[in-house]
């Protein structure tokens, strides 16, 4: 086995710690009482987490975030994969135009679509619903574009072999293309999940009910909780922040092994 250069390992550790330090510091603060934080005396507690969940409804916000981000990711990646397969593999009338339109959506700033989306959902009676939070984010032009490029790199002979084996186009997609494109699909899924998890603006305008708030909305509201004398209750905010980042971190660790390498090796001589 190749011996690592101790200097490079040390440097990597230092840089890693530097990047991690704000997160570690915020987790540290989340276990302090507000008084201890402002007076500087060491006093540790789990009370901030208990308050975030019981007093400020963070368990509900967490569940909402998981439902919304999870469904947006699942539906978004499914639709994007199917669109990408169609764009990559089939010649159909208007296909190039449709793909051009899909790519063009990447050039439109998301904020421009806020008002039209809001009006559309208001007319459909979908404001203050999960559907209202989820549907606008489901169509993802970038994911369709990214996956189409990836699928184009998969040898077409594999599709043809599957057709000769008796597969239908949908079987080719789900049994052959998707398993091979798994690293790209998981990467894109993670990207969609994190983007939706961090989404603040759309949930802010699409829902007004506390029961439908996501973590980001809940987190913003915490800044208004005043421990007295015009101070922000930072330990409480940091406990809520920790609740916000931990599922993403866990999700990343869960899918990380799927992101590492492609698996087309051996398919084609």
């Amino acid at each position: 086995m190749k011996r690592e250069n101790p200097f490079m390992v040390g440097l990597a550790l230092v840089v890693g710690l530097l990047f991690l330090s704000p997160v570690l510091y915020s987790i540290w603060i989340s276990f302090e009482t507000a008084q201890a934080y402002y007076t500087g005396s060491p006093e540790f507690t789990l009370d901030n987490y208990v308050r975030a969940v019981s007093e400020y409804n963070f368990a509900r916000y967490l569940m909402n975030s998981i439902i919304v981000s999870g469904l947006v990711t699942l539906l978004g990646i499914t639709i994007a994969t199917m669109a990408a397969f169609a764009f990559a593999r089939f010649q159909f009338r208007g296909g190039d135009l449709l793909f051009g339109a899909t790519v063009a959506t990447l050039m439109i700033p998301s904020h421009i679509s806020l008002i039209p989306n809001y009006l559309t959902l208001a007319k459909a009676g979908l404001l203050d619903t999960y559907a209202g939070l989820i549907l606008p984010a489901v169509s993802n032009g970038f994911a369709a574009f990214f996956l189409r490029q990836y699928i184009r790199g998969i040898p077409k002979a594999l599709d043809e072999a599957a057709y000769m084996d008796g597969a239908t186009p949908m079987q080719v997609l789900w049994r052959v293309i998707v398993p091979i494109a798994r690293p790209a699909i998981f990467s894109m899924g993670l990207y969609i999940f994190i983007t939706e998890w961090n989404n603040y603006i759309w949930p802010l305008i699409a829902v007004g009910k506390d029961d439908l708030f996501t973590l980001q909305i809940g987190l913003a509201r915490l800044y208004r909780i005043n421990p007295g004398e015009g101070l922000v209750d930072w330990p409480l905010v940091m406990a809520a922040s920790t609740i916000t980042i931990l599922p993403v971190l866990a999700g990343f660790l869960l899918v990380e092994r799927h992101l590492v390498r492609g698996i087309t090796m051996g398919a084609i001589k």
Binding site: A161, Y163, I268, K269
Partner: protein
């Protein structure tokens, strides 16, 4: 068993030239057909049309007596082996072989048993749980064959299946494919640009060039009586020699003909022989094992012939080459098409004179 009939197949892509110019072929059930031709001649396109991987807009394809132009590939009951094998990289050898059976709803136990039996035939049983990435080129090629065999179809299409193998493995696999055909009795359409494969495997060979079918006949007929100069030159190693007939002793008047002589139809003589012969000068000799390939210059042009190692003339030496006119083929100088021997050499008297070498200069 099913046969395949192709009638006036034409193919062109949008905004592109025509690739196939009306190819017709009648393939009998159980026949081993090899389509051969240089790169870009349309042989793979023809195979893909039979498979249903390309749409056939002009002409008719009949499989087992039924028109198949509009049938999807999965409904044609055809198995195909691809040039690059196209194995599913995420599946094991067992899953690769059994995938087609799974798609057709065969129960798991039954399809696994079939996969194992096929793997045993192809000596792949130790590798059933490996993925293609962990196999050698030859093993991958066998898996591709196994995948096709497991389906138990009556027609196999093979698109240059041996072109990615090294020479010794190619020779071994060639024998195995021939043996497989004997065992299965299936109709096989095999595409290659390797003429040795074509001659050794085929019941009949289809020679293609630039989208046209030039000749469709048995290997013997194609080798001995090629329809034109292209076919004559394409099959055979070393290739046939083409000499202007007018340069041969006794044929000075015939400017309109070329004679085609296979290397093995010519013999080396260190001294001038009694029969008609050309004086030549050795330019280069190549050792092929049991034989030598001699490249010589003559008044009629460059001649390549084979000779036993014992008869080897000295380097750059001058010697004589006689030829067997019974094995010669004549071609029209302009059209390149074959001309019958009788019409080529005219009156029988001259023919007799020529054969006896009495016209020797």
């Amino acid at each position: 068993m099913s046969g395949i009939t192709l009638r006036d197949i034409r193919k062109s892509y949008p905004n592109g030239p025509e690739i196939l110019h009306g190819v017709s072929m009648d393939i009998k059930p159980g026949e081993f057909i090899v389509i051969v031709g240089p790169s870009g001649c349309g042989k793979s396109t023809l195979l893909r049309l039979i498979a249903g991987l390309e749409r056939c807009e002009q002409g008719d394809i009949e499989i087992g007596g039924k028109r198949a132009n509009n049938l999807a590939p999965q409904n044609r009951d055809i198995a195909m082996i691809f040039q690059n094998y196209a194995l599913y990289p995420h599946m094991t050898v067992r899953e690769n072989i059994a995938f087609g059976l799974e798609l057709r709803g065969m129960p798991k136990a039954e399809r696994n048993a079939r996969a194992e039996s096929v793997a045993k035939t192809l000596q792949l049983d130790p590798y059933l749980d490996r993925k293609p990435g962990a196999l050698s080129g030859g093993q991958r090629q066998r898996v591709a064959m196994g995948r096709a065999m497991a389906r138990n179809t009556s027609i196999f299409l093979m698109d240059e299946p041996l072109s990615n193998l090294d020479n010794s493995l190619r020779v071994t696999m060639r024998t195995e494919i021939k043996e497989l055909h004997r065992q299965l009795g299936a109709t096989i359409v095999y595409v290659t640009h390797d003429q040795t494969e074509a001659l050794s495997l085929a019941d009949r060979i289809a020679v293609m060039k630039d989208g046209d079918l030039l000749q469709f006949d048995t290997p013997e007929a194609i080798y001995d009586r090629p329809n034109n100069r292209f076919v004559a030159g394409f099959l055979g190693v070393p290739p046939m020699n083409f000499l202007p007939v007018a340069q041969l002793p006794g044929w000075q008047g015939r400017q309109d003909l070329m004679v085609g002589l296979r290397p093995e139809a010519m013999s080396v003589h260190l001294d001038q022989p009694r029969e008609a012969a050309l004086p030549v000068r050795l330019v280069l000799s190549e050792m092929t094992g049991s034989d030598l390939i001699l490249h010589c210059d003559s008044a009629a042009g460059r001649i390549t012939l084979t000779s036993g190692r014992k008869d080897r003339p000295r380097d750059t030496s001058n010697f004589w080459v006689s030829y067997d006119l019974d094995q010669a083929v004549f071609f029209d100088n302009h059209s390149g098409t074959r001309v019958d021997l009788a019409s080529a050499i005219g009156p029988s008297k001259r023919c007799a004179e020529f054969r006896n070498g009495s016209s020797r200069q």
